[in-house]
Symmetry: C2
Subunit: 406 residues, 2 copies
């Protein structure tokens, strides 16, 4: 499949408009309310946090997604509307009503999403004004504004769009996301909004976003905390005019690949922008007995505070990598594990048969001095693989999180 990256992010696909505005939820002047709008009702799919403590907008939006149709997503940053009781639930419902009124659509077709501080009520007057302002600012070029309005401690906005031909139809898939802290496998404080002009049946769309999230967002870890607010939502409005993709469609696998690609690119941006991160860490586990084993091992290594600290210190401490594989819960034989370090500067095998090698320390150091580091672990046990993404653990992570609330 030939995939072309194009600009436009979440508004790259036909029929999508977006806006991001400053309403005043954040103390700074940064944008904090976003709306993503489809000209026509779209099929919707979504995956949500597995935390037992679910924020009000998560509870609200799960019901919208379950019905399969949505036309707009309204998002605020600066306040998570989590642990806010009945009042918070009412606020989430009001956000949908206000957005529906401004956009002239059904309130049942509005997905609501929030991110930010937990446990404080979202000020209704501010969010109402913000929604009005965002609705008035919607445009076909608003993707980047929306991308910026959903950020919290993120250092940069995250967006991507790609195109591919499905027979006669030109299909676009685009997306934005926010992450930074609390990113961990199984949907952590991570919001991702994907749009496509493909026509896709709702159950297939749901399965597609779930598959993609399992391989991408759920394989990103920053600090091991799983948030109350995460969601990844996909809207498919059919504007591209392709024959609707169902389970038997010849384009189903191609569509899955496109969504995977968009989610993978966003996931890597999430990891790169982990709180305080100075390096992107990619952990690739090969030749595991099962995909589950490969995922467990990759996630354990990418999550290890000791590995992450060593990557920050550019120290080829392969023992910590092997140790994390050992406690990951993956079915492994310690005596067959092989470990490589790799980056733009080269590659070096640092361990094999579960034991350290007399490797070239200078080369290893050079590899670790790069911004993007890959740890490749060959388990020599089976044929399955998985990749996890993370970042190094730095002084800045501690600084950012020591006093976030006040």
């Amino acid at each position: 499949m030939e995939v072309n990256e194009i600009p436009g992010g979440v508004t790259a696909a036909l029929g999508f408009h977006a806006a991001g505005v400053h309403a005043g939820i954040k103390k700074s002047k940064k944008p904090d309310v976003a709306i993503i709008f489809s000209e026509v009702p779209a099929q919707v799919g979504g995956v949500f946090t597995q935390n037992r403590v679910k924020a009000a907008p998560v509870l609200f939006s799960q019901k919208v997604v379950a019905k399969g149709t949505a036309q707009a997503i309204v998002v605020n940053s600066g306040n998570a509307n989590a642990c806010t009781g009945r009042t918070g639930e009412e606020t989430a419902g009001l956000m949908a009503i206000w957005a529906a009124e401004e956009l002239g659509i059904k309130k049942e077709h509005v997905v609501v999403s929030s991110t930010g501080v937990i446990g404080q009520q979202l000020p209704r007057d501010i969010i109402k004004t913000g929604i009005k302002k965002a609705a008035a600012n919607l445009s076909r070029e608003g993707g980047n504004d929306a991308a910026r309005a959903i950020l919290t401690t993120d250092k940069f906005s995250k967006e991507i769009a790609i195109q591919a031909e499905f027979g006669d139809a030109l299909i676009t898939v685009g997306g934005i996301c926010k992450g930074s802290g609390m990113i961990h496998p199984n949907m952590a404080t991570m919001l991702a909004f994907i749009t496509t002009d493909a026509s896709v049946e709702a159950p297939v769309l749901q399965q597609t976003i779930k598959n993609a999230a399992d391989k991408t967002f759920n394989m990103v870890t920053v600090d091991g905390d799983t948030s109350t607010n995460d969601m990844a939502i996909i809207l498919a409005n059919g504007k591209a005019g392709n024959p609707s993709i169902n389970e038997k469609s010849p384009f189903l696998s191609q569509f899955q690949k496109m969504v995977d690609y968009v989610c993978m690119k966003l996931a890597k941006m999430l990891a790169m922008d982990g709180e305080g991160a100075s390096k992107l860490l990619e952990v690739q586990v090969n030749n595991a007995l099962s995909e589950q084993d490969a995922r467990k091992a990759a996630k354990a290594v990418a999550s290890s505070s000791l590995v992450k600290s060593a990557v920050f210190g550019e120290d080829a401490n392969w023992g910590r990598i092997l140790c994390a594989v050992g406690y990951s819960g993956a079915n492994i034989d310690p005596e067959t594990v092989e470990i490589w370090l790799e980056s733009a500067a080269g590659r070096e095998k640092v361990a094999e048969l579960g034991t350290g090698l007399e490797f070239n320390e200078e080369n290893a150091k050079k590899i670790l001095q790069e911004k993007e580091i890959k740890i490749i672990i060959d388990l020599h046990q089976g044929k399955e693989g998985a990749t996890a993404w993370g970042c190094d653990l730095t002084y800045d992570y501690v600084k950012i999180n020591a006093d976030y609330r006040t």
Copy 2:
């Protein structure tokens, strides 16, 4: 039961001698080889790391413990003898042989233990000389020397001893441990050596140390990494002359309490001395449906990088606490959770019914400024409880771990 704390640590109990000497495994002048010796063969019990990657001394000592009798423990710090293949396994065996020769005991009665850097061969000539020197230095007052010789990045040595009367007999239980980094539930880089002059049957002794470890060492978390080298070993040499404790002994529960007490005190010292820690964090979960649920919730909160960073920043961010309870896997109802902060400066309820309260920020700040912070979580679901210990996440943690190996 009346328990008296006494000095002497691991040599407080009758018939135990110890030494800690500098052999040269560590680059510094600090002691790095310890021997703990019983005048007579003792019953032995022990628990070991659950990491699939087990260091050579762990594999060796598991076999010794399985046979139920030991007379000496030889320990080195500075090198973990982990991921060192067959050569490392031979070195562990040689350590037992050399110690047995110097002490005039059976090599099958020697427990071997190592801690430090992973993946480098332990220099045999140095360890051999160290064992000789330690054996020559054994004394009834050597407990503290041994306590210091097993440390790695620890800031202080950890020892405790207590006495209680079992009928006519005066029973002493003492212990030392080392911890610092990589401390996590289920035996993380943690060595603990407990000695007692009680007479206890081996299977009972094994069950006693397992019970104690589950409630104490396995509830301590510093960074979530589980090491390759952990062990907690108990020797009982019967020198106190009590009728041997078996399953039906009226003193069994009293003995369990003494071992629990020693392990709990050592566990708290471990947490307090977590790498880079500036505060001790105690997380108490009450009224859970099961003890398992209580443990899961307590460990998740004590392990959360976000909670730990907030404690470092003295920020009453209860939302992160509730969030960690939510993803802990414990069976909870988010809407009944109540959270208190407590320290020597007072206590403050910060959340109830799963929602934040308008609490006294000034009081909360004062509570969090103390060195020992308690988070009390009432789940209002059942009757079971558990406590976990941890520490805050600081700049120093990152500093210590960014370049430990080189």
